[in-house]
C-alpha cells in the first residue's frame, strides 16, 4: 500500500504546530497503525529528520497509552479498537490519512502527537480509589454482589483511560472517563463508604481541569475502544444528585 500521511507536527508545548505531509510507500496491510508510523519514523531518522513523537506502550489494546485522531475518528475507523490494534487493512491503497493529537485544553500537547493526560490522574486522585487497605483479594463469595451490579461495574472497569472520550466529545468533556472510574466503585460494596464524597470530588476535579460539560451528545461511547456505555454517565448524575442532596458527604471525618 502507498499512503499519504498528513501529521500534526509540533516541536513543543509553546510551538504553534502545523500539519505536515509525508508519503509512505510499501505499507503492508498486516501492519498495525503504530507499526506503519514506526516505518515512517525509521525513514525520517535515516534521512536525518526528527521522527514523529507518539505515545504507545503495550500495543495490545490494554494500557491506554496510544491515542491518535485518525481521519477525525478517535483511534481510527474501527469501533472498539485502540490505535495500536488497528490494522492498515482498514485503509485503502492511495488514501490520505490525517493524524492529529487529542484536542483538549486539559490535554496540552507535549510534542507532535503526544499529549499530557495528567488531568485524568487528578480526577483519580480526587477520589477514584478506596482508602481502606483491603489486603489481598478475598474469597470471591465472601461478599455477595448482585450479578447485574457486578456486570455493570466490570463494564465500567474496562476503561483504560486513553482519553478518546474527551477527544471525540464536541464539548471536550471527560465525563465518560469520570463516570467509568466512579461506577466501578459505586456499584460494589467496597465503594460504598466514600460513595458521595467521591462523586463530588471527582466531578469538581474534572471541572477544575478545564474539561467541558456533558450535554449527552453521545459521541464518546462510539469512540471508546472499550465501549463504556453512555448510561454510565447517568449513574454518575444520580450519585451526584444524591450527594448534593445529602450535603457534605458520607466519609467519616471529612
Amino acid at each position: 500500500m502507498n499512503l499519504t500521511l498528513r501529521i500534526w507536527r509540533q516541536k513543543g508545548p509553546e510551538d504553534k504546530g502545523r500539519m505536515v505531509t509525508y508519503p509512505v510507500d510499501d505499507v503492508s496491510p498486516d501492519m498495525s497503525f503504530l507499526e506503519m508510523l514506526d516505518v515512517l519514523n525509521e525513514r525520517l531518522i535515516l534521512a536525518g529528520e526528527d521522527p514523529v513523537a507518539f505515545d504507545h506502550d503495550c500495543r495490545e489494546g490494554i494500557c491506554g497509552m496510544c491515542g491518535l485522531m485518525i481521519n477525525g475518528d478517535a483511534h481510527g475507523p474501527q469501533r472498539g479498537t485502540t490505535a495500536c490494534q488497528l490494522h492498515m487493512r482498514q485503509f485503502k491503497d492511495g488514501e490520505t490519512i490525517d493524524i492529529e493529537p487529542w484536542r483538549a485544553s486539559a490535554f496540552p500537547v507535549v510534542k507532535d502527537l503526544v499529549v499530557n493526560r495528567n488531568a485524568f490522574d487528578k480526577i483519580i486522585a480526587a477520589g477514584g480509589y478506596v482508602t481502606a487497605p483491603t489486603g489481598s483479594a478475598p474469597e470471591a463469595h465472601s461478599t455477595p454482589v448482585a450479578k447485574a451490579n457486578a456486570d455493570a461495574a466490570f463494564e465500567a472497569a474496562a476503561c483504560i483511560g486513553c482519553g478518546a472520550c474527551v477527544a471525540a466529545c464536541p464539548n471536550g468533556s471527560g465525563m465518560l472517563f469520570t463516570a467509568a472510574k466512579l461506577t466501578q466503585l459505586s456499584l460494589l460494596p467496597q465503594g460504598q463508604p466514600e460513595r458521595y464524597t467521591r462523586v463530588i470530588g471527582m466531578v469538581d476535579a474534572h471541572d477544575e481541569a478545564g474539561f467541558g460539560g456533558c450535554t449527552n451528545a453521545g459521541e464518546c461511547t462510539p469512540a471508546c475502544p472499550k465501549g463504556i456505555p453512555l448510561n454510565t454517565i447517568g449513574r454518575l448524575n444520580r450519585d451526584y444528585l444524591a450527594a448534593t442532596a445529602k450535603g457534605a458527604g458520607n466519609t467519616p471525618g471529612s
Binding site: R6, W8, G17, M19, M69, N71, G72, D73, D98, E100, R103, A104, S105, A106, P170, N171, G172, S173, G210, F211, G212, G213, T215, N216, A217, G218, E219, P222, A223, P229, L230, N231, I233, G234, R235, N237, R238, L241
Partner: protein, 210 residues
Amino acid sequence: MAVTGILLVLFLVVHMLGNLKIFTGETSFDHYAHWLRDIGTPLLPHTWYLWIQRTVLTVAVVAHIVAATVLARRARAARPVKYAHRKKVRGSYAARTMRWGGVIILLFVIYHILDLTTGHLNPQGDASNPYGNVVADFAPERWYVTLFYTLAIVTVGFHLRHGAYSAFRSLGQQTPRGERRARAGALVLAVALCAGYLVVPFAVLTGLVS
C-alpha cells in the same frame, strides 16, 4: 437545563391542548382564551395568574439560556485548537443542533408573542377575537408565515427529541433499558407536539378552520 426544560415542556403541552380547542369553534376558542385571563379569580384579580405564569416561564427561559451559554463557553474553552479533520458528529442531528436550534426557537418565540399575543405583527390583531387572529394569520396568501411556523415547530421537535432524553439522563436515568425508553419517549413527545402544533395552521391553510 433539565429542570427548566421540563417546566417549558409542560407549558408546551398545555399550550398545544389549548390550541386544539380551535376545532371546537370560534365561540368556544375565544371563551377559552378569555378564561386564561381569569384563572384563579376571584382569589386572584383579573390576569394575575397569567402574569405569574409568564414570570415563571420567563425565569425558566432565562435560566435555560444562561445554563446553555455556560455549557457552550466551557465547550469552547475546553477545545481551543480545532481539529483539522473532523467528521460530522456521529450522534443524532438533534444533538448537534441544540445550540443554534435554541437560538432559532428564541427568535421564533419573540415573533410569535408579537404576532398572536400582542397582535403587533398580526394582520387582524384584535385581542377580543383570537380565533379571527389565527385565521387571518395563516390565510393561504400568507403561506410564508405558515412556512416559518412549520420550520420553527420542527426545530422545536428536534430540540425536544434530544432535550427530553438528555433531561432524563441529567436527572439520573442510569440503565440501558431506561435509556431506550427515554429515547423512545422523547421521540414520541417530539412527534406528538409537532403534530399537535402544526395541525392548527394547516387546518386554516386548507380551509378546515375559517
